[in-house]
Amino acid sequence: MLLDSTIKSLVDTLPLGVLLVDGELRICGWNQWMVQKTGIPAQQAQGKTLQELFPDFCSERLLSAIELCIKHKSPQLISQTLNRYVIPIPVAFESHDLTLMQQKVNVAPLTGNNGEALAVVSINDVTESVAKSHALAQMAKKMKSQSNHDQLTGVYNRHFLWSWLPPQIKQCVRHGEALSCLMLDIDHFKRINDTYGHDIGDAVLCGFARIVGAQLRGSDILVRYGGEEFVALLTHADATVALEIAHRIQQEVRQAVIAPLDAGEVRCSIGVASWTPEIPCSSEELLKRADRHLYQAKQGGRDQVVGSHG
């Protein structure tokens, strides 16, 4: 049998709050954890009720759990989910927005030395896990709203384009590198959609994105800009390189079979614009220039590349 003093020091070493409450809801036990976390010494807690110690706050649930436990020897679980906490203990972490310790509490019946009914309240600090799950939930929410990819084709979306391009141009300014922009549009896409239906239309969009993507290099990016319009951004590529790649894409698209369409049924127009140290411009201006060239390609009869050297 353990001695009372051994049990007392055992309870004091536990990494959780332990307090003992009698039938009149007065505290008759208060371990070292409680002293440290609440700043209330054991002598001061002794004989007081929880209401007296925490006048501004009193958990009805805790009181009713203690009552069920003492009167009916019925253990009670007080979850963080439904209660958040039972005793207000401030926590100060820079890393999360919780100001009070989140607690998971057990109330269990105990018989005292003289046969009196007592309740043992043990408090687990679950603040860290709650903060973690909040952080994960926020992250998941953010990821959902800021997803960088187009759902249909899997290539990047506009949102990503605008987070990627401006810093990229800054880097071009710093290092004097070139960057080119291709604006691509599938010719007569509306006709394909009307003739074959939207499912085939979607398949053409996916096939087109795949063919274009295959012509790009690892550091380039492909973006679905809207409807049947795509943007390819080519790093370290001046107008000459960009035009070459654009022509290759045009050829590949012409030769591709995108079921059930035969080779040659899908064609595209491409406008090319380049950023170079000699002709610098903003991200918006670069896209506008590519768009102007795309418009010229459409006006010129489609299925062609328009751009200017240098």
Binding site: R61, S74, P75, L77, L82, Q138, K144
Partner: protein, 212 residues
């Protein structure tokens, strides 16, 4: 064992008092109007449980249970259809899939269900123990989502239960315009059931003596 309708009625009455007390406690905790009633009480043998509950062997149910010891031995268990309990908890806790970011919802549901079940079982058992003047002790609650056979296997782990009889109380829990059918099931040793019904008969006799 003979259990006439009067005794079952009295038990039903007891369960109603216990569950309405549980509802009051839950209403306080969840700051919402919660109603609980027991429309029907039956006693069956343990072997007939599955049939009596009309549960398919593969149906997964959500259950909270506490072991009973002292004068009454056995298990007090609360069962809900899994989907219903999930919906109920999500509404009560004010969670939506989006808010929670689809993360950790199950852990949150389990924790909440365990506390809700703990409150219902202990409030009901407290009334029954008081009225029948019995000393009933309870373990901490357990929560499991499983089929009935798996559930029973888990409950039996580490115990050598005597042949058991089961008191089944169908309950209805109403909250937030939602109503879910639940069952409170008390799996008791035959001697415990006999003791309970003997006490019920005494109560009924006293009541009728006082009434005449």
């Amino acid at each position: 064992m003979t259990t006439d309708e009067l005794e079952l009625d009295a038990l039903c009455e007891l369960a109603n008092v216990g569950l309405s007390r549980a509802a009051t406690r839950l209403s306080q905790l969840l700051e919402d109007d919660i109603e609980m009633t027991t429309p029907l009480v039956r006693v069956v043998a343990y072997e007939e449980l599955q049939q009596a509950l009309q549960l398919d062997e593969r149906t997964i149910i959500a259950a909270v249970w506490q072991e009973l010891s002292g004068n009454v031995e056995g298990t007090s268990m609360l069962m809900f259809p899994t989907e219903d309990s999930r919906m109920l908890v999500q509404e009560l806790v004010g969670l939506s899939m989006q808010e929670a970011g689809e993360i950790d919802l199950r852990a949150i549901e389990h924790e909440a269900m365990m506390e809700i079940g703990n409150i219902i079982i202990s409030s009901a058992m407290a009334v029954i123990a008081d009225m029948l003047g019995q000393d009933i002790r309870m373990s901490m609650p357990h929560y499991v989502e499983a089929t009935l056979p798996d559930l029973m296997a888990q409950r039996d782990r580490g115990h050598a239960w005597q042949e058991t009889q089961v008191i089944i109380m169908n309950t209805r829990l109403k909250a937030r315009q939602r109503e879910i059918e639940g069952r409170m099931v008390m799996l008791l040793s035959v001697t415990s059931v006999q003791l309970l019904f003997a006490r019920l008969r005494e109560l009924l006799l006293n009541a009728s003596a006082a009434g005449s």
